[in-house]
Symmetry: C2
């Protein structure tokens, strides 16, 4: 007897069946919920959890009294703001190659940081791991990042992780996960050092993102500031109105 599907498995199954074309009719309409419940042998709760997530991903939408429909596919030249995992993983998803060209690492006191998170009080002697990274996309200069990790939380960052994903290293080595990230998006003139790297005049536009990353237990892990090459960066978001 096969095990019942959980929500995540169900989501994958639904996507697979949609993409193979067997689940949708000519109007991109999915079967009704009772039919899907029967087909996948799940209750309505599980089914609707899956459909809700699919619609938050922008993959489908539901119309009250009418049915569930598959949306036309979004272009793949933009980064989904709601993407799971790190930037590297998202870039891989849309078939692009993100590479760290150069990285520096040192330890400082919180009082010496160039910027701080919006709401967090550090002890006077709190130590931060100060990391700068210059990263390219498909060989072209893409972003300059300045981040601070709380040493009391992450302890240390191996050199090789600087050239891959620090979050991945952290989740693997400790037994925990990132829970949520506060992001602030702005535009700003490129500071000189970033302009040099991107081979643009200083003061050119850039997309500026500030991140504050928290663990699933609410603890602050890191905060950072990233300058993106404006010619190569599109962020994508689907806003659901409730």
């Amino acid at each position: 007897m096969p095990k019942k599907l959980d929500t995540n498995t169900l989501i994958k199954e639904i996507i697979t069946e949609i993409e193979s074309g067997v689940l949708v009719d000519n109007n991109r309409k999915l079967p009704s919920e009772p039919v899907l419940m029967d087909k996948f042998d799940v209750t309505r709760y599980t089914l609707r959890q899956a459909l809700k997530q699919l619609s938050e991903m922008g993959y489908t939408y539901q119309v009250h009294g009418v049915g569930t429909f598959v949306r036309h596919q979004q272009s793949s030249d933009s980064i989904a703001l709601e993407h799971e995992g790190g930037l590297s993983a998202e870039m891989k998803r849309i078939g692009r190659d993100l590479k760290t060209e150069k990285a520096t690492e040192k330890i400082i006191l919180a009082s010496e940081a160039e910027f701080l998170p919006r709401a967090h009080h550090f002890r006077d002697d709190e130590k931060l791991i100060d990391i700068k990274r210059w990263r390219s996309l498909d060989g072209k200069p893409y972003l300059m990042e300045h981040s601070y990790y709380l040493q009391s939380v992450i302890d240390e960052i191996p050199q090789e992780s600087l050239y891959g994903s620090v979050f991945e290293y952290f989740e693997r080595s400790r037994n925990t996960q990132i829970g949520f990230i506060d992001q602030t998006i702005m535009s700003s003139p490129l500071p000189e050092k970033a302009a040099e790297f991107m081979d643009m005049p200083s003061g050119s536009p850039s997309l500026l993102m500030n991140d504050e990353s928290y663990l699933i237990n609410g603890e602050l892990l890191a905060f950072s500031r990233q300058y993106y090459n404006y010619q190569m960066t599109k962020l994508f978001l689907i806003k659901k109105i409730h």
Copy 2:
């Protein structure tokens, strides 16, 4: 006998009680779910729907096996990307005054549009209402917007709505609502006309947002492009990792 609370009412009640300080302890911890179920007389389903929405708003977070906690409040100088309603409403929420200084309206054919949505095929004779708006925030030049509304959907746009909210007019006059909006966020040099309005050198940075707005039945209503004054614009987003 009072009626049972629905999810939206419950959310408001919880926020009210949190802000009056009676619901959280010194560690910003809420009572456990069974206690809350009892207190508000709802089932776990309704309670958890509310808590889920509160955590998506960045208001609380839940820790497995530990409890539910209230987050420190976000600064109010940024626009929440997930905000409900239009930009005017969001600006009002954070106590700022958005005003349309100038607006133009004309009707064109889809083939004459300066830009188009990513995935939509227009009939050759599809008519679009072409609207340009120059808007200020607290008296300072804030954004320049160029939008196209499908005439077959909205019919006409009264002059006074140009100086308020077109979406509000639409939802009020028809019996329907906006369902979701696809947004693409970029940075770009200011085009000359926008630079003039914002009193900046042409080529200055700007935050550029492209919107495609759909009704709850999936029908496209409008698409637009907005150049924001980069010195006055911060977009805020909470990314939940699942």
